[in-house]
Symmetry: C3
Subunit: 632 residues, 3 copies
């Protein structure tokens, strides 16, 4: 397994005379990859059809001559202002009906045919020029699909495309009416042209309507993306990459990932803790300058699954304070190194810092780089350089399949966002809770899509919140010890309650006959320890009751190999449940100090101390914000 460092660089932001020195310093810091170009459309094509490649040619020349491998980005997330003259209706429209205008980025609707074509054209032009250029070692398509809530667009282009998509999916309007249950509230349509987008209704729209719109919206991203893939594939054999943004769930990353070679993601641990994570004030204060101890690993494991053959990168790694979260503290000294190593331990080929030098202008002027705006080194640079030295010196880390797997499914997030039943029900939170519980027991984890059909290599598999459990997955679950639920196999793909009611798992007679959502701070005690919260099901069926609430409700039912969990556990109850499952699966559970997390490769055990205090573990002393590894 290769390991390398990279960096994001914007030659167009800096005087040309700085480029060579920048490149030399990158190399000196152990950096071997540099991503460029993804926001530079106005410099590449300043007027429609008039291209200016001279500066880009020179930048590529300077960088590659210093020894750097180039990732070239297609600039389609930042169409220039003139594009709006070509396509005045290309803008996405928000749920309130406002066009989302020019002046920042991502100002396009994925459904707009003209802009989709124009995106293919610029990819084609770039591919034509640089596709066979040996200095360009990889390509990034667009940038952070879905960032700034840009997947769902309520434009006319989206509406028209949605109608076509529905006609394609359902064939006849009667089939759609039947599938959605439109008889309810007289919502029946007489033709596809009567169907509007599901915004600005009096009260909530039909959830089947809304889920269809979410499936459509994800499909539009895939279709948009594949236009660029096709344009580039015609010209290059270099790997194609997209950089996903953390906790963006509005489109199916597995489907976008299917047509490209490498998955990458943009990892901003401290920004995410402030902006994108639930959690108690105490938890957020404890990890303020480190980030949540499981958020990064979760995404690493996710993108290892999204990437073809498990290939994945961190394309943007937070190097210091960012600018976009509600509050932006600095990483503790050591965290930039810790995050980098954590990515490598989870199998990243490249960790690429964003960005080389903090720009002194525009939206991200308060976003740290490895260098300060005045070109002095920022604190992150020394940590990156240390990682650079360490990866050069360290022997190969052979990855291995993890003993435990967690099923992650984008449409389940859409289903529960559409039909939450409790206003704070969050698929992502449920998944992160489950993932965290496994990690606190010391496990390394593989994340798998719900399309997986072979689980025989896993000792234990968890599938919480999986809206619909595919038949093939149900079969595969029989190959291992499995925990399903809560809220799994609870709806059909049309977001209806199935008859017979779920979970109705193969080989397990359990029915969730009724559900309750509970407000925060309401808990129900479970006999023997721990509580349930947020979500509680009434479980019926002949399967044995393994755990029971003090209310008498069954919380866990099943047998030694397959168990269904009918409620949302707190951390203590998760621990009890996992201990029980691990025993059945023949796995050893570890007791970790708070804030410590492990990752095992075939050759090494890595230990990451996210907590504020020094800890002792397996004879090692690990300081706060430090990583340790040893052979196993």
């Amino acid at each position: 397994m290769n390991r390398a460092l990279g960096v994001c660089y914007y030659p167009e932001h800096w005087p040309e005379e700085m480029w060579a020195q920048d490149a030399a310093e990158m190399v000196a810091a152990g950096i071997s990859w540099v991503r460029i170009g993804e926001f530079a459309w106005s410099r590449i094509e300043p007027e429609p059809g008039q291209f200016a490649f001279d500066w880009l040619d020179r930048a590529i020349d300077v960088l590659s001559r210093a020894g750097l491998k180039i990732v070239l980005g297609t600039p389609t997330c930042t169409p220039p202002r003139w594009m709006l003259e070509r396509f005045p209706d290309m803008l996405a429209v928000d749920a309130q009906g406002h066009p989302r205008g020019f002046g920042s980025r991502r100002h396009y609707c994925f459904s707009h045919a003209g802009y989709r074509r124009a995106s293919g054209e610029i990819a084609e032009v770039l591919g034509d020029r640089y596709g066979r250029d040996g200095r360009v070692h990889a390509w990034q398509i667009d940038n952070e699909y879905g960032c700034h809530d840009t997947i769902l667009s309520y434009s006319e282009a989206a509406r028209d495309a949605f109608r076509s998509w529905l006609a394609e999916r359902y064939g006849t309007i009667d089939a759609l009416n039947e599938a959605w249950g439109n008889v309810f509230w007289s919502m029946e349509y007489r033709s596809f042209d009567e169907i509007d987008l599901p915004n600005l209704t009096v009260t909530q729209p039909n959830p089947s309507h809304e889920l269809a719109f979410r499936r459509f919206s994800s499909d539009q991203v895939v279709a948009y993306h594949e236009v660029q893939v096709a344009a580039l594939r015609a010209h290059t054999d270099a790997p194609l990459i997209h950089n996903y943004m953390g906790r963006v769930l509005d489109f199916d990353h597995f489907e976008v990932g299917a047509s490209i070679d490498i998955a990458s993601w943009d990892s901003y641990p401290i920004g995410f803790l402030s902006d994108r994570l639930d959690g108690s004030a105490e938890h957020k204060a404890r990890y303020l300058q480190q980030g949540d101890p499981d958020m990064q690993a979760f995404h690493h494991d996710l993108y290892r699954a999204v990437g073809r053959d498990g290939r994945w990168w961190v394309m943007e790694q937070q190097p210091g304070p960012v600018n976009w979260a509600p509050h932006n503290p600095a990483p503790l000294p050591g965290m930039v190194r810790l995050w980098s190593w954590e990515a490598f331990a989870h199998g990243a080929e490249v960790v690429s810092y964003f960005r080389w030098r903090q720009a002194p202008f525009a939206q991200e002027q308060m976003h740290a780089g490895l260098k300060r705006p005045d070109n002095a080194p920022a604190p992150g640079l020394a940590e990156a350089a240390q990682v650079g030295r360490e990866i050069a010196e360290m022997p190969q880390i052979a990855l291995q399949q993890a003993p435990v797997a967690l099923i992650f499914d984008y449409p389940s997030d859409w289903a529960w966002a559409t039909l939450p039943q409790g206003e704070d029900f969050s698929y992502f939170r449920l998944m992160l809770d489950a993932y965290r519980a496994l990690r606190r027991c010391g496990f390394s984890i593989d994340i798998l899509p719900s399309t997986v059909t072979d689980l025989s290599a896993y000792a234990l598999v968890l599938a919480p919140g999986l809206a619909t459990v595919p038949d093939a997955l149900q079969e595969a679950l029989a190959q291992t010890v499995a925990l399903v639920g809560p809220r799994s196999n609870a709806v059909t793909e049309e977001l209806r309650i199935p008859i017979p009611m779920g979970p109705a798992l193969r080989g397990l007679d359990v029915t969730a006959t009724r559900v309750e959502s509970l407000p925060p701070h309401v808990t129900r005690a479970v006999i023997g320890g721990g509580t349930v919260q947020h979500w509680v099901e009434d479980l019926d069926g002949t399967a044995e009751t393994l755990l029971q609430a003090e209310t008498g409700q069954a919380v866990l039912k099943g047998n030694r190999r397959l168990q269904y969990l009918g409620a949302w556990p707190d951390a203590d109850l998760w621990e009890r449940i996992i201990h029980g499952l691990a025993k059945e699966a023949g796995l050893t559970v570890l007791t970790l100090p708070e804030g410590l997390r492990l990752r095992d490769t075939a050759t090494h055990r890595f230990a990451f101390n996210y907590g504020p205090d020094l800890v002792e573990f397996q004879g090692k002393t690990i300081r706060s914000a430090d990583v340790s590894w040893w052979g196993i």
Copy 2:
């Protein structure tokens, strides 16, 4: 007094082969009424002018042959999609100017003349067909006027109708300018056509303008409603009903109720606690699975006043967890029975559960029914059946007039919503506080409109928050012991301060010379116990000061028969005040265990234990979520 059970049923949602079995099971559970049809317009009239009555005929046939009496609903709250082609401008418009589109329900503006006419036409068609059909024993008009915040519409239709309404009300524009005080801030108009709706102004509009718009909006509901009443009256002698929704105050229910025969309301105790009630976190946790102990009774007493000759039903009774509140826990076992009996004790003729069977599709798929989506019985069914047996076995319950009355007035809610003075001032909360205080003292209560002119049968009458006290009511108050205030008779019907200033009650020299609104958690102690909060008036005048705050402010002034309350009491102070009034009125105050509530009929005392614990009262032991009754 009759007592019966009913259920809401949607034959159009289910295969026709299930209908007969459903009907038989209803009857077996003691149900004798079934409401159908109110959302079925797209099945009754699939294309404009093309009616499909065959299925409805068969449904009526099957249900009535099983012994069920039918309530037939007009489907005007769910106009089909094709109606929008006829009337593209029929949609209500929200305060931000967005049309509230098709895709859920209630997507119409009450002021739209075309849709109003179309509503009368469908009522006419249904009346023509079923008005003399002896199997249809009652009619429901529309469904839950005002649900989803649908009374106030800022459409062009509303604007034009508002101008006409204003011209009618004021005669000349000068009279309007004078009435509203438009000289303030140069808001004077030269013609009615210059007047816009009071939304999207720079800062708050003239409160007189806003109150006029609220009066107009209520009148539009009444006018809309009466079109259907007239259409049905021409064809049927069966009673006409509307089902009001809990805590919907944006139109005058007394005025809608005046033209029909029976008031009914939709009672969702646990949904209301989560979604529509103020209250401490502790209170909400204590009653999480029971609902607020006074919310249902309040509405029962209110709709007994709204219904002609006191006739009222619960048209929709929560049978299990609902889907629409922020969180949706299940009722404690026993609560469905408790709620049902509480309605009967307050005089309901029918308690009708919503709905027979949980639909496995569309918006309410997570809303419990008496039966599960898979047709197994849900927990509520057995409780309903128990009630069915009990009402069959129990002797008649003769209602009696209560000893205590509370005046409830919709325009007062509009006035204080328009001119709150403290952002959390809520007429409804004040009323519920007063009602709760009376109930905690053991009283049964009648709610009366502000138009009442004879109070001689009451020992005690309360009129808090009554914006304007009509002359006739002031006279009537002299017939009894009365408590008026706080914030009563404080404004004119045009929402101006009267000169002389209020309350200026007949026979009581009290003037509220100044008011204060206080933020939450700020209280002022009252000498002798209790505190005031939220709202404090400075009271002047020769009337005796009966209670005084430690600040020196008079809190209660008056004599043995008529007292004015100048502040918002906490629960302890309410208790003191009511004890004092009861003594003057010759009423006996009881001390109830927390969570217990009583209701006395002429023949029986009913006791409802909303609390989580078993209580002892008058020699009876009453379990949590249980009801007990005994002869008196």
Copy 3:
């Protein structure tokens, strides 16, 4: 120095037969000024071009004959309804794109050329009629620019004017692109006509774009204002006044003030505490009926700087509960007098109460006056009359320059509102914290604009949060002991990070190399006492470290004369810092009881007890809500 009382009066609101009695009572209360006319456009010009001056003539006659001096207002903040027929597009547009309609006040866009002209015309008409009328002693132009968030307008008029303003400022589009760093995210424009207003973008717009729009918007107010100034100057020599609203920062008051003679402001201490101040719940409860102890003094000192030659008034003084804050308690007895005296102690020429009599109609019917709606005296009247007697009896109060100055800069507020970095970063809060800290040490303070060039008369000057420190100010700071920072000289006037990075103060080698924003409740301890919060910089450079956080970060660096503060202190740390600076400056620090504040004139020391308890200070006993003064 003169001291006088005034009152705001609306003859058009009252029967003409009340005017003479009103005037007599004003004079009896010691009032000598009366402001009229500023909302009366619909009465002055009921139809376009048809003027009705008779009533105004008579009002002026009655008032002046009673001995009152008149301030006449131009009514341009309340254009009549007919103005919208002339200029349908004159309305401001909010950030969501909604025109802000007729029906309250301030419904105009400062950029609308037609309305700007019409405003000049009505000023011209009034000036022509009353400019040489000796009874009109002063003029007020418009009313509370910016109240109700009315400075930023997203109208077409604003867009077009913005483009012209940009062309004027930058000359070429290339210069603008370079200045804003539009290469970032391909935001480059090809012409000024491509530039839209910075609203409704996908994510945040370029901060340089947004700051330019804020500068433009302030300039539009100035230009609008100067049209009226010019119209009036042609006709009158009486002083021109504008009444600014508290904590309205969206335009540059110094620039508006430059063309007129007297600054005035509208002081609503209790409304501000509820509505416009940050602060703990405990702080807000403690000062609920008094107002924040520093908010009024801050504005007094600010408007002494805004007014030409230091001339300033309180044009509107809260006399009792107001109507517009979230909650509206009454002032403690004594506060109306205390506020009045505090204004005089800070140099006000006139304190004018708003309003004479509470209007019983329209938006402000719940806003107290000196008289009740029924014409009885309200509690504030007696306090005003007491002040009237006291100012008549008291010897002259000679003002003196304060020993300490604080630099206040409107563009800094715009810069940090545009680029907060921490979502709760507030320039105003930082300024008020610094001001409060100085006041708690007993200092009287002068507020100065950032354009000041001579500080030699001050012993100590503070400049926190000053986005860009002008060269001339840097020179002036060398004349005194000065504290700069936090977040001072951190950006250029185009809102970019300067290279070399700031603060880079003349004579002090300090660079803020990195910044952190911290969530509320996160603090970092400083060695020796106190904490930093909200905002922490990493300081580098050779200047001596004077204070250090326990993290090792330098908090204060500098020498005995010039210090840079790199973090936001809590109250204890502010006290330490000011003690240190005062020692260097040769100033004596006092220890004040909580809630007590001082103001020294050349002749007297005034002490204001805002706290709820009696305090002892320098041998004096001062009751809550009382003011005391003695010669010094």
